[in-house]
C-alpha cells in the first residue's frame, strides 16, 4: 500500500467519526437539557432574538417616526414599553436596537474567534520557540482594557457603523480566546490518533484541519457565549459615551444615551434598553455555564 492509500484508509477511519461525534454532541445536548437554569436562559435568549427580528416587521408603529404629542408616555396597551422624548414607540425601537446590538455582538464575537483561533492554533501547533514567543507576548498583553483601543480604532476609521463597531470591539478582545485555543491544540496534539496520523504520513494541514480544529469546536461554542456579554456591554458603553452608534440609529447603548437626560422624570427610557442588555448578558452567562458543564463534564464539580 502506498502512503496516500494508507492516508486514505486513515481518512476512511476518520469518516466513521461523525457517528461517534454526533453521539458526543447528543450526550452534551442531553446534559444541557438537564440543567434547568441553562434551558430557561436559552429559551429567553431565543425569545429576545425572535422579538428583535419580528416586532419591527409587524409593529404598527414606525420606530423612527417622531410624534411629539406622544412623547414621554408610560407603558400602555398601544405602547407596552412607553415612548421616548420624540414619541417613538420603545417596544418597537428596543427591538430594532436589539438587532444592532445583538448583531454587533455576534459579529465581534465571530471576529474574536477567527483571530483567536488563528493565533492560538499557530502557537499551539507549531510549538517550540515560536509558541514561547507568542505566549510570552500574550502574557504581557493579558488584561489590557479593550475600551481605549476600541475608541482609538473608531477614531482612526473615522466613521461609526455596524462593521466598524465590529472591528473596534474585537481588536483588543481576542487574547483569552487565543490562549484557550492554544491550550486545546497542545492537548489534542498529544493524542494517539494524531501521532498515528503523523506516522502514516498525513500532511500537517490535514492533521490541523481534520483532527485538531474540529475537536476544538466544543470549546469554541462555549467561547461564543463567554465573549458575547463583554462585546454587547462594550457596544453599549461606546454608544452611551456618544462614541458608538449615534441617533437616530438605534442600539441599546444609544437608546440608553437618549434616556440619560430625562432620567429624573422619565426613568423608563434608560431602564428599558439597559434591562434588555442585562437580560441578554445574564442569559448568555447561564448558557455558557450550561454549555461548559454539558461539553466538558470533567470540570463539573461545583
Amino acid at each position: 500500500m502506498s502512503a496516500t492509500q494508507i492516508a486514505g484508509r486513515v481518512a476512511g477511519v476518520d469518516a466513521g467519526a461523525p457517528i461517534r461525534q454526533s453521539s458526543l454532541w447528543q450526550d452534551a445536548w442531553r446534559r444541557y437539557l438537564r440543567n434547568r437554569g441553562a434551558v430557561a436562559a436559552g429559551i429567553l435568549f431565543l425569545l429576545i432574538v425572535v422579538w428583535c427580528i419580528v416586532v419591527p416587521i409587524v409593529s404598527p408603529h414606525d420606530p423612527n417616526r417622531i410624534e411629539f404629542p406622544d412623547a414621554y408616555q408610560g407603558p400602555s396597551w398601544s405602547h407596552p414599553f412607553g415612548t421616548d422624548q420624540f414619541g417613538r414607540d420603545l417596544f418597537t425601537r428596543a427591538a430594532l436596537g436589539g438587532r444592532i446590538s445583538i448583531g454587533i455582538g455576534f459579529g465581534a464575537t465571530l471576529a474574536i474567534l477567527l483571530i483567536g483561533v488563528a493565533y492560538g492554533a499557530i502557537s499551539g501547533f507549531v510549538g517550540g520557540k515560536l509558541d514561547n514567543a507568542l505566549m510570552r507576548f500574550l502574557d504581557a498583553l493579558y488584561g489590557l482594557p479593550y475600551l481605549p483601543f476600541a475608541i482609538l480604532a473608531l477614531a482612526i476609521i473615522g466613521t461609526v457603523n455596524f462593521w466598524t463597531m465590529v472591528v473596534a470591539l474585537s481588536v483588543a478582545s481576542w487574547f483569552i480566546t487565543a490562549r484557550v485555543v492554544r491550550g486545546q491544540i497542545m492537548t489534542l496534539k498529544e493524542n494517539d490518533y494524531v501521532r498515528a496520523a503523523y506516522a502514516v504520513g498525513v500532511r500537517w494541514y490535514m492533521i490541523l484541519g481534520r483532527h485538531l480544529l474540529p475537536n476544538t469546536l466544543g470549546v469554541l461554542v462555549i467561547t461564543i457565549f463567554l465573549e458575547l456579554p463583554g462585546v454587547i456591554l462594550g457596544e453599549a458603553f461606546l454608544s452611551f459615551l456618544g462614541l458608538g452608534i449615534n441617533p437616530p440609529d438605534a442600539s441599546w447603548g444609544s437608546m440608553a444615551q437618549d434616556g440619560r437626560d430625562a432620567y429624573r422624570a422619565h426613568p423608563h427610557i434608560i431602564i428599558i434598553p439597559s434591562l434588555a442588555i442585562a437580560t441578554l448578558v445574564l442569559c448568555a452567562n447561564f448558557i455558557a455555564d450550561g454549555l461548559r458543564d454539558a461539553l466538558d463534564p470533567r470540570t463539573k464539580e461545583t
Partner: protein, 308 residues
C-alpha cells in the same frame, strides 16, 4: 524562579514598545489635524512653525523614537489643543482622582465580595449561597450606567442622601466607587466561592480534619489562605475592568479623572493626550500583570515548575 522572573521582565520590553508603536501608528492614521480646525486662517509660515515645534514634519520613525524616549524619561509631550498644558500636567492633575476611585472600588469589592464568596462556599446550596450567586450574576450583567442612574435616582434624588455628582467630599465618592466596584465584587464572590469549594476537597484539608483540627483552624489556615491566591491573580484582569468601567462611571458622576478626560480628548482630536493616556494605561496594566505573575509564583510554589 529567578530565570522565570528575568524572562518575564525581559519580555515586557518588546510588548511595551509594540503597544506604543501600535498606538503611535494608529494616531498617525487619524484624519484631521488640531491646527487646521480653527476657522481663522493660520498663515502658512505659522502652520509650518507649529508643525516643526511638534515634530509633525519629521519622518515617522524619528517621531516614534523621540516619543519612546519621552515615555522612557516620563515625558508624554505637550497637549496639542490646550496650549499651556502638557500631557504630564493632565496626568498629574486627573490621575490621582482615578486612582482613588479605582482603589475605593477595589475596597468595596474586597470588603463585600470576598466574605460573600467565603460564606457561600461554607454553606453550599444554602439560601445565602444562591442569593450571593444570583447577586454575582446580576452584578456582571447590569450595565454600570444603569446602576449609576438608579443609584442617583433613588439615593440622591428621591432620598436626598448623597450628592449626585462631583468629586470633593467623601460623600461624593460613595456612589461612584460603589458603582465601579460592583463588577469586581461579583467577580470576587464567584471566584472565592469556586476556589474555596475546590480547596475544601483537597487531601490536605481532609488530613487536617482527620487529625482533629478544629473547623475554624482548618478554614483559616488551610482553606482560606490557599483560596485567596486567585484573588491576587485576579488583580490584573480586574484592573482592566476598573479602567473600562471608569470611562462610564467618571462620565456619569462627573468625576474629573482620566477616563472622562480620555473621551473629551478623543472628541477634541488631541492626539498627544489620547496617545499618552493609552500608553500610560497600557503600561500600568502590563506592569500589574508582571507583578501578579511573579507574586503568583511566590505565593503558590506548585506553579514554579510548570511555568518556567
Amino acid at each position: 524562579m529567578a530565570a522565570y522572573i528575568i524572562r518575564r521582565v525581559v519580555w515586557t520590553v518588546p510588548v511595551v514598545l509594540l503597544v506604543i508603536f501600535m498606538t503611535f501608528t494608529l494616531m498617525k492614521q487619524i484624519e484631521g489635524n488640531p491646527f487646521r480646525k480653527t476657522e481663522r486662517a493660520v498663515p502658512a509660515a505659522v502652520q509650518a512653525n507649529l508643525e516643526r515645534k511638534f515634530n509633525l514634519n519629521k519622518p515617522w520613525y524619528v517621531q516614534y523614537a523621540q516619543y519612546v524616549k519621552g515615555v522612557a524619561t516620563g515625558d508624554l509631550g505637550p497637549s496639542l489643543v490646550l496650549r499651556d498644558r502638557t500631557v504630564n500636567d493632565i496626568v498629574e492633575e486627573q490621575f490621582p482622582r482615578s486612582i482613588e476611585l479605582g482603589l475605593l472600588a477595589f475596597g468595596w469589592a474586597v470588603l463585600l465580595g470576598v466574605p460573600a464568596g467565603v460564606l457561600a462556599a461554607m454553606r453550599p446550596n444554602s439560601r445565602f449561597d444562591y442569593g450571593s450567586m444570583l447577586f454575582s450574576n446580576v452584578g456582571f450583567a447590569l450595565p454600570n450606567f444603569l446602576v449609576a442612574t438608579l443609584l442617583i435616582y433613588f439615593v440622591s434624588v428621591k432620598w436626598g442622601m448623597l450628592p449626585t455628582s462631583g468629586w470633593t467630599t467623601w460623600q461624593h465618592k460613595i456612589l461612584p466607587s460603589f458603582t465601579l466596584g460592583l463588577v469586581p465584587m461579583a467577580y470576587f464572590a464567584r471566584l472565592v466561592r469556586g476556589t474555596m469549594l475546590e480547596t475544601l476537597q483537597q487531601d490536605y484539608v481532609r488530613t487536617a480534619k482527620a487529625k482533629g483540627l478544629r473547623r475554624r483552624r482548618v478554614l483559616t489556615v488551610h482553606v482560606l489562605r490557599n483560596s485567596l491566591i486567585p484573588v491576587v491573580t485576579a488583580a490584573a484582569p480586574l484592573l482592566g475592568y476598573i479602567i473600562t468601567g471608569s470611562f462610564i462611571v467618571e462620565n456619569i458622576f462627573a468625576v474629573p479623572g482620566i477616563g472622562r478626560y480620555y473621551v473629551t480628548a478623543v472628541s477634541a482630536r488631541d492626539y498627544s493626550v489620547v496617545m499618552g493616556l493609552t500608553v500610560l494605561l497600557s503600561i500600568i496594566v502590563i506592569a500589574a500583570n508582571l507583578v501578579v505573575d511573579i507574586l503568583y509564583g511566590i505565593l503558590d510554589p506548585r506553579t514554579r515548575e510548570a511555568r518556567t
